[in-house]
């Protein structure tokens, strides 16, 4: 196999990795906020359920969760889902897992806000919803951005776990080529791709952080 063909195949795998990455962020970031509300809820039952959910998500391997989501419907419900299910299962497992981590990050940020901000907002006539979205959340985002960057970078690398469902993202393809060609080159190339992908992500996050530096 020529170098060019290998790069082409890895490139198409990279696109799939990016696809997983982007969709996971799209779903897990808002879902995480919702989960953090549940975690801080005044209702004990909601709080307990969310606590258990976060604990399971953080306490078991993501690879296992991928398998559970993918095979679960068949083993539990006897459902046979079509070929599209593989990708859907990956996105569900990733989003639900990352939402748990993001929820804890949101919570740490929200709980670190001084109560005076809530009190000032209340006196000035902001409703509870506008207090959160206009006053609290923008400041929380600034506070949690470094932790979020960490998670996002981990996610780039975690997309490779989709190989456990034989989904043809970059790592799966690298492994296939490496086995066929008995060469370590594909892994090196994949490593380089992941590294560059992450460098771009890190650069982007740094830019966002800088754009919020106008206040302390």
């Amino acid at each position: 196999m020529s170098f060019q063909v290998m790069m082409q195949q890895l490139g198409s795998g990279l696109l799939r990795s990016i696809h997983i990455f982007a969709l996971t962020l799209l779903f897990s970031l808002p879902l995480g906020l919702l989960v953090s509300f549940g975690r801080m809820s005044k209702n004990r039952i909601i709080r307990s359920i969310v606590w258990i959910y976060i604990s399971v998500m953080r306490g078991t391997p993501l690879m296992l969760q991928l398998l559970a989501v993918y095979f679960g419907p068949f083993y539990i419900g006897g459902l046979k889902l079509g070929t599209m299910w593989r990708f859907t299962a990956i996105i569900i497992a990733f989003s639900v897992n990352y939402a748990a981590y993001f929820a804890e990050i949101y919570r740490s940020g929200i709980e670190s806000m001084p109560p005076g901000q809530y009190e000032a907002a209340r006196i000035l006539g902001y409703s509870r919803t506008s207090t959160f979205f206009r006053i609290i959340l923008p400041q929380v985002i600034k506070r949690i951005l470094p932790s979020v960057t960490n998670e996002v970078i981990t996610l780039v690398k975690d997309t490779s776990l989709a190989f456990s469902l034989a989904y043809a993202e970059m790592f799966t393809i690298a492994k296939q080529i490496a086995a066929k060609e008995t060469s370590f080159m594909p892994f090196l190339a994949a490593a380089l791709f992941y590294y560059v992908f992450n460098a771009i992500v890190a650069f982007g996050m740094e830019r966002i952080e800088k754009s919020l530096n106008y206040y302390t």
């Binding site: 005076g116 006196i123 902001y126 206009r134 923008p138 400041q139």
Partner: protein, 252 residues
């Protein structure tokens, strides 16, 4: 009709009674100062009046309307919806540590509540806010962010922000306690100018000379009760032992 009436207010924290049956009244254009040692319940009184804190007993009336009271079973009640909103729009509060919104510019700190909560047209709100900033001597700081301001400037922005909503009565919770003497002076000057405009104010403060000079009515609180009250001259010349002890310590 009184702007604000608080009747027989009681408040405990974890079984410790910090306000024991206090009543007070604020009339149109009146300046009321609440003085007294730390822990005497002054700030709590203010937080009850502004509904940041619930009350355990008593009633709060704004503009002749009952806005908070306690049912016989001990639960505190606020009116719903518009009536509560109306009560809330009666007053403003200036905090000890300013509580400006750090992610908003100075101008936006003032304009945003006007536009977002009072539904004022933006252009009108900006004009009013700029006028207020001018009066505070801060016209050149409109585009600055709170982190770029001194404590005195921050507090003046906070006062402008509260004034922008046209409150009938403005509460000050130790407005100069976080400031050095120089900055204290500039904030007191602003508050003095408001008194000349006959805006009703309730001021919790440790600035005795200031309280003496500016107040129509003074309340000296100790251990959750009103120890002495009356006109400025009456209170500051009162022969109360507890007050003498307090003032005696101040002079050292």
């Amino acid at each position: 009709m009184a702007l604000l009436e608080m009747k027989h207010i009681r408040k405990s924290f974890d079984g410790l009674e910090v306000i024991r049956d206090i009543s007070l009244q604020v009339d149109q254009g009146e300046v009321l100062s609440i003085i007294g040692p730390s822990g005497s319940g002054k700030s709590t009184m203010l937080r009850c009046a502004t509904m940041l804190e619930t009350i355990d007993a008593g009633e709060i009336w704004y503009l002749g309307e009952k806005t908070a009271w306690v049912e016989p079973d001990g639960t505190m009640v606020y009116p719903k919806g518009e009536r509560l909103k109306k009560a809330h729009s009666c007053f403003g509060l200036v905090f000890q540590n300013f509580n400006l919104f750090p992610h908003f510019s100075v101008l936006k700190n003032i304009v945003d509540p006007m536009v977002h909560n009072q539904k004022k047209p933006k252009a009108e709100a900006v004009k009013e806010a700029m006028d207020l900033l001018g009066r505070m001597g801060l016209a050149d700081k409109a585009d600055a962010y709170p982190c770029q301001l001194s404590g005195g400037q921050s507090q003046r922005v906070a006062i402008a922000r509260a004034l922008a909503l046209n409150p009938q009565v403005l509460f000050f919770d130790e407005p100069t306690s976080a400031l050095d003497p120089e900055l204290t002076g500039e904030v007191l000057k602003v508050i003095r100018s408001l008194a000349e405009l006959h805006i009703a104010m309730v001021i919790v403060t440790h600035e005795m000379n200031f309280a003496k000079e500016i107040s129509d009515h003074v309340i000296f609180m100790d251990k959750g009760m009103i120890e002495v009250e009356g006109s400025s001259e009456e209170v500051f010349s009162a022969k109360n032992d507890r007050m003498k002890a307090f003032f005696g310590k101040l002079e050292h």
